[in-house]
């Protein structure tokens, strides 16, 4: 195993510690919908960076699907947030099992 690969493996450890720490703080500081939107944004950035570092670019049809999925995800977060904020947010259909 090359030195670069060893360093990459080692780098995942502080990165995983930092992300758990930052995630718990961010979740506490933002609403669930805000956090979901943030996750969506992070996913989009991940894809852009992946293309930048050499991932094969999608076909135009795939790209349209990718954009539609991303837009649909953001739309879902907005509607979900509005429903949670409204009085009809939680309408239990049946009693909790536990």
């Amino acid at each position: 195993m090359t030195s670069a690969r060893r360093w990459t493996i080692l780098a995942t450890i502080p990165a995983s510690i930092a992300i758990v720490r930052v995630q718990t703080e961010t979740q506490a500081a933002t609403s669930a919908a805000g956090f979901a939107a943030l996750n969506n944004a992070a996913k989009a950035f991940s894809v852009l960076v992946a293309f930048a570092v050499g991932e094969k670019a999608p076909t135009s049809a795939s790209l349209a699907g990718l954009v539609a999925t991303f837009a649909g995800g953001l739309w879902y977060v907005r509607v979900s947030a509005r429903l949670k904020a409204g009085p009809e947010a939680s309408r239990p259909g049946k009693t909790k099992r536990s």
Binding site: M1, R5, T8, I9, A11, T12, I13, A15, S16, I17, A18, I19, V20, R21, V22, Q23, T24, T26, A28, A29, T30, A32, L38, A41, A42, K43, A44, F45, S46, V47, V49, A50, V53, E55, K56, P58, T59, S60, A61, S62, A64, G65, L66, V67, A68, T69, F70, G72, G73, W75, Y76, V79, S80, L83, S90, R91, G93, T95, K96, R97
Partner: protein, 220 residues
């Protein structure tokens, strides 16, 4: 500030993990070390006692198993699919969560959520269809597993299902952040407990794999 840091770290971790799985035959030991280090760092930084960590690990063990499964399938998905494919697949998680929430939590989804979810599903279909029409027959849909697209589909489907189950379990376990209350230390204690249990799960998986009892069909 923490939102920007989370976004940057999320991108960094995604890319590091995607790169690591290209040359590491098994990720279970690495995941065990990551979870154990995270538990240790959180416990030390927030002065969480070993007893609190142990109690948290025992209490949240089922949730930790689901988190471990979600993380492991995510890394395995990285082995078989491109980042864009994983992104599209993960957007399908709400579609799986809604029926699960109805069964487990007794919540009925609003009809208003149907339109955005149809848009997500249509986007995913267009993405997969576009990938199938790519020049090499596999295209971007299963970029890293051209020889076995079926395996990639199975891993991605498992990841979506397990992630949805994990999110529903988390909701059931801890409720909303407001309900949980508590300060930074309490959140750290909770995360340390879950990570301690995850470290044990990954360590057990790693030992089982070493003894050849663990299926190696997902390895390249």
């Amino acid at each position: 500030m923490s939102a920007a840091a989370y976004c940057a770290l999320s991108v960094l971790v995604s890319l590091l993990n995607a790169h690591v799985v290209t040359f590491l035959p098994s990720v279970t030991l690495l995941l065990a070390v990551q979870a154990a280090s995270t538990c240790l760092a959180l416990a030390l930084a927030s002065r969480v006692s070993p007893r609190e960590v142990c109690v948290g690990a025992v209490r949240e063990f089922p949730l930790a198993c689901m988190c471990s499964a979600a993380l492991w399938t995510r890394l395995e998905a990285n082995r078989h699919a491109s980042q864009s494919t994983i992104l599209v697949a993960r957007h399908l998680v709400p579609l799986v969560i809604l029926p699960m929430e109805r069964v487990v939590l007794g919540r009925r989804a609003s009809a208003e959520l149907a339109a955005p979810l149809v848009a997500v599903a249509a986007g995913a279909f267009a993405f997969a269809n576009g990938g199938r029409e790519a020049e090499d027959g596999a295209g971007v849909v299963f970029a890293a597993a051209v020889s076995s697209p079926r395996r990639g589909r199975v891993v991605l489907a498992a990841h979506v299902f397990v992630t949805a189950a994990q999110l529903v379990m988390t909701k059931r376990s801890v409720g909303s952040g407001r309900e949980r209350g508590g300060g930074r230390r309490r959140r750290a204690a909770y995360a340390a407990g879950v990570n301690a249990a995850m470290a044990l799960v990954f360590l057990a998986a790693s030992i089982l794999r070493e003894n050849s009892a663990f299926p190696s069909r997902f390895l390249p």
